[in-house]
């Protein structure tokens, strides 16, 4: 291994007792690393044997038990057992064969500790941080939309995909970044793949970011349009966050959980009072906004939030968002385990093979994998795993818990989202998720439409759909596309059974909407800031007068770049909102492809680094998910660009509408007037162009990766850009639960005088 040479052997000493080796970097200090070679005990074997058996039974129940009476608890058991086995065996294999963590080497957090961004952080706390940073609306929304194909394909991909692809990506990117002072993915691509591959990766990340922001904003718009209750409670989050910001700045600096608690109480009040406000004439009048008006509100908000000081809006909103995220996910898990709902969805629906589903077009392969995205493999995680998290890590051996374990938790969130969508009446599900062009706008027209889809179960009536809307305090739930309203509906179904009874159904619905919108808006303002920095950095690299843009304190430059970023995602948002066939239907696949292509970039970097380190034998670990991901995304891109089916192919649809216009038609299929006709023509042109751009950029990155890998195999080529190792002078356990040896060494460190160098965040003191 390249890094073993640098550490001066002078003071390094090893002491072996039985199967355990203690490593010291300073003879006067307790050990800084433990290498445990203890064989697997019989008890351990029995425990994992039982877990494997239980998991197998749960999988059999899900996959082979038919008759629509599968209980949601089996999904939880199958997921948890598979995660435990994946974490214990597959992640351990990756650790031993590829990552090879060295706890006697100081992680960047220890070397550069400054009390700000570099800070050795207790592994359990960092797990929480990392999870809060990677989990967002993606794993909640994707599985809900993918439910159109039945619960089985989605469940398999979310669990298996996480174990073999998503977690591997997060873990490896984290381990590569940790050995490079927490460098970002773009920088690492440049270092490891060369200038061409690196530049393509940086442009790719920027464009993909814009699409991400647009689609997330579209999800919020679709959830809040024509819903005065939702709009009121979300708009109240702005004054609440401002209050929290001022409180922390001027009244009681540093009392973060105190102010967050106040904020959450105010937030709950906002959700409750939203029902009351929406019931009044003026409330309904002020807060009922159309999709277009709401889009403009979010665009203006996004611009304002990205130029306001961090302490005033972004930081407090982030605290609220973390609080709500962790709290609500725990609440939902308890709800599912207590209520134990029954699946209403079929295991595999007819839309899986026909590809004619109303939620998104295309057949199971590749579009299921594109749609689920974040819950199984998320390219965006590589932006968190490189950059923020590596700068807080105490010990290299904790990366398995943070990187691999963090993604397992996200996958579990996706499974819960899938459950909440699968327990809904299927007619109701499609009435909520099919575009307006199909359902019409009333309960009756929607009922007529879904009854004609040939779904299982008894048909639904318009009155039943209206009653369902009234039950959650909404005017209508027809065509509330985007996944968020469906998830909120499912969550209110689960939570009202456990907490509060049917009287609280409307509260839970709006609570869930608020919770999703809250962290989507957090992502929108944080993402706009990050994209602005990427843009000014990229433009600054062009040199000349643009060089000035790289100075972040030049306000004019910052504002201009913010405006460009917001204009970019804002125009996509408006495009989606105005699309006659429904923006989610056309834009979500683009979002999924973008996310999965980013994963391809990250996995390419990981594979190249593994090969450069001389571990060709183990290159299949990141290589197989990379190949799978490329197959999925390139097939999807190919179909989006070349498919002759106008529902799938952007260009076929484009020319169909161009021809219709040339023939003098003023309405055509979903376009009801000339303006809509023009909208479809320009939208499909932009979407088609982007599909090509994404695919080309990723091909360049992968080609650069292949060239680098071949050079490395032949010998020579660019060297690895790892840092020189520095000996560590702190100790911390590796896993969630410390072993006996780790406990013993921790005691020795705690017995040292307090002034001594060690991690301050490691214990409750």
């Amino acid at each position: 291994m390249a890094s073993s040479s640098g550490l001066t052997a002078a003071e390094r000493s090893e002491e072996t007792v039985g199967d355990i080796t203690y490593v010291r970097t300073d003879p006067d200090l307790p050990p800084v690393a433990i290498i445990d070679r203890s064989p697997i005990t019989t008890k351990h074997k029995i425990v994992f044997g039982v877990i494997a058996l239980l998991g197998a039974i749960a999988w059999a129940m899900i996959a082979f038990f038919r008759g629509e009476t599968v209980n949601a608890v089996w999904f939880v058991i199958a997921a948890v057992c598979t995660y435990l086995i994946g974490y214990r065996f597959y992640a351990r294999l990756i650790e031993m064969k590829i990552v090879k963590p060295r706890d006697d080497v100081a992680a960047p957090a220890e070397v550069f500790e400054n009390g700000t961004d570099y800070m050795p952080t207790d592994r359990r706390v960092l797990f929480g941080h990392h999870f809060a940073a990677i989990a967002g609306a993606g794993p909640l929304v994707g599985p809900v939309l993918a439910m159109q194909m039945g619960y089985l394909p989605g469940t398999i991909w979310i669990i298996v995909g996480a174990v073999f692809a998503g977690c591997v990506q997060d873990y490896l990117v984290l381990s590569i970044s940790v050995r490079r002072r927490g460098r970002s993915l773009g920088q690492m691509a440049k270092d490891e793949l060369g200038v061409v591959g690196g530049t393509a990766a940086i442009i790719g990340v920027l464009v993909i970011m814009v699409i991400l922001l647009a689609v997330l904003a579209l999800v919020v718009v679709n959830a809040l349009a024509e819903s005065p209750w939702g709009v009121f409670s979300i708009s109240m989050t702005i004054p609440i966050a401002l209050f929290m910001g001022l409180y922390l700045r001027f009244l009681r600096p540093g009392r973060v959980s105190e102010v967050s608690l106040i904020g959450v109480v105010l937030l709950l009040l906002a959700v409750v009072s939203g029902g009351w406000v929406a019931g009044t004439d003026w409330g309904a009048d002020w807060f009922t906004l159309s999709k277009v008006a709401l889009s403009w509100c979010i665009i203006i908000y996004g611009l304002a939030a990205s130029v306001l000081p961090v302490w005033l809006l972004l930081a407090p909103r982030d605290y609220l968002s973390t609080f709500m995220k962790v709290g609500t996910i725990i609440l939902l898990a308890i709800g599912i385990l207590v209520a134990r709902p029954i699946m209403e969805a079929p295991a595999v629906s007819s839309f899986a093979s026909s590809g004619t589903g109303p939620v998104f077009a295309g057949s199971l392969f590749p579009f299921l994998f594109i749609t689920i995205a974040c819950g199984a493999l998320s390219g965006f995680h590589s932006l968190i795993s490189s950059g923020t998290t590596p700068k807080l890590l105490e010990k290299e051996s904790q990366m398995r818990l943070i990187g691999y374990g963090g993604m397992l938790t996200e996958s579990f969130v996706a499974i819960m989202a899938l459950i909440t969508a699968a327990i809904l009446n299927q007619h109701l599900y499609f009435a909520m998720n099919a575009p307006v062009a199909s359902t019409g706008t009333t309960g009756q027209s929607a009922a007529d439409y879904v009854n004609g889809l040939g779904l299982s179960g008894p048909p639904i009536t318009g009155a039943e759909l209206d009653a369902a809307a009234e039950g959650v305090g909404e005017e209508s739930i027809v065509s509330r596309t985007g996944g968020a309203p469906t998830l909120a509906f499912g969550m209110s179904e689960v939570l009202h059974q456990v907490f509060g009874g049917s009287g609280l159904k409307a509260f839970w619905y709006h609570f869930a909407i608020m919770f999703e919108a809250l962290f989507i808006l957090t992502t929108v303002d944080a993402g706009t800031r990050v994209a602005r920095f990427m843009l000014s950095d990229a433009l600054g690299n062009l040199g000349g007068p643009l060089k000035k843009l790289q100075n972040p304190s030049w306000r004019v430059g910052a504002w201009t770049c913010s405006l460009i970023v917001v204009a970019a995602w804002g125009s996509f948002l408006l495009m989606g909102v105005n699309a006659p066939q429904g923006g989610i239907n056309t834009l979500f696949p683009l979002f999924g492809i973008a996310n999965q292509l980013l994963a391809a970039i990250a996995l390419t970097v990981a594979t190249v680094v593994v090969i450069k380190r001389g571990l060709l034998k183990w290159a299949w670990i990141p290589g197989v998910p990379l190949l799978w991901d490329l197959t999925v995304t390139m097939t999807a891109s190919w179909q989006k660009i070349f498919s002759a089916d106008p529902k799938v192919g952007y260009w076929t649809q484009h020319f169909q509408y161009v021809d219709a216009k040339a023939a003098g038609k003023t309405s055509f299929l979903t376009a009801k007037n000339p303006a809509q006709l023009d909208a479809v023509i320009s939208n499909t042109f932009i979407q088609g162009t982007l599909s090509i751009l994404f695919a080309v950029l990723v091909c360049i990155v992968v080609a650069a990766g292949v060239v680098m890998a071949l050079k490395a195999i032949r010998g020579g080529g660019r060297p690895l850009s790892e840092d020189d190792p520095t000996p560590s002078r702190i100790f911390a356990p590796s896993g969630l639960i410390p072993t006996a040896a780790e406990k013993e060494v921790t005691k020795q460190w705690e017995a040292l005088p307090a002034s001594h160098a060690r991690s301050v965040g490691t214990g409750a003191h």
């Binding site: 706390v125 940073a133 990677i134 967002g136 973060v256 959980s257 000081p309 302490w311 992502t523 944080a526």
Partner: protein, 63 residues
């Protein structure tokens, strides 16, 4: 009784560290260790510095 308070203390420690309540204390400890005897900035100024750092190096939130 003792175990209840110890669990409560652990939870509050976890939550406080996750949210950032004790970040300033850790900064003070770090300064005392690396620059003993020198003046340490106030909690108010520490958070101003933290937010200024975020301003210059924003962190992404995921989808």
């Amino acid at each position: 009784m003792g175990s209840v308070t110890s669990v409560a203390r652990k939870i509050s420690w976890y939550w406080g560290t996750l949210m950032g309540d004790n970040h300033y204390r850790r900064y003070v400890d770090l300064r005392n260790r690396t620059h003993p005897g020198e003046a340490v900035m106030s909690e108010r100024d520490y958070w101003r510095m933290r937010h200024a750092a975020t301003e210059e190096n924003p962190q992404s939130r995921c989808c």
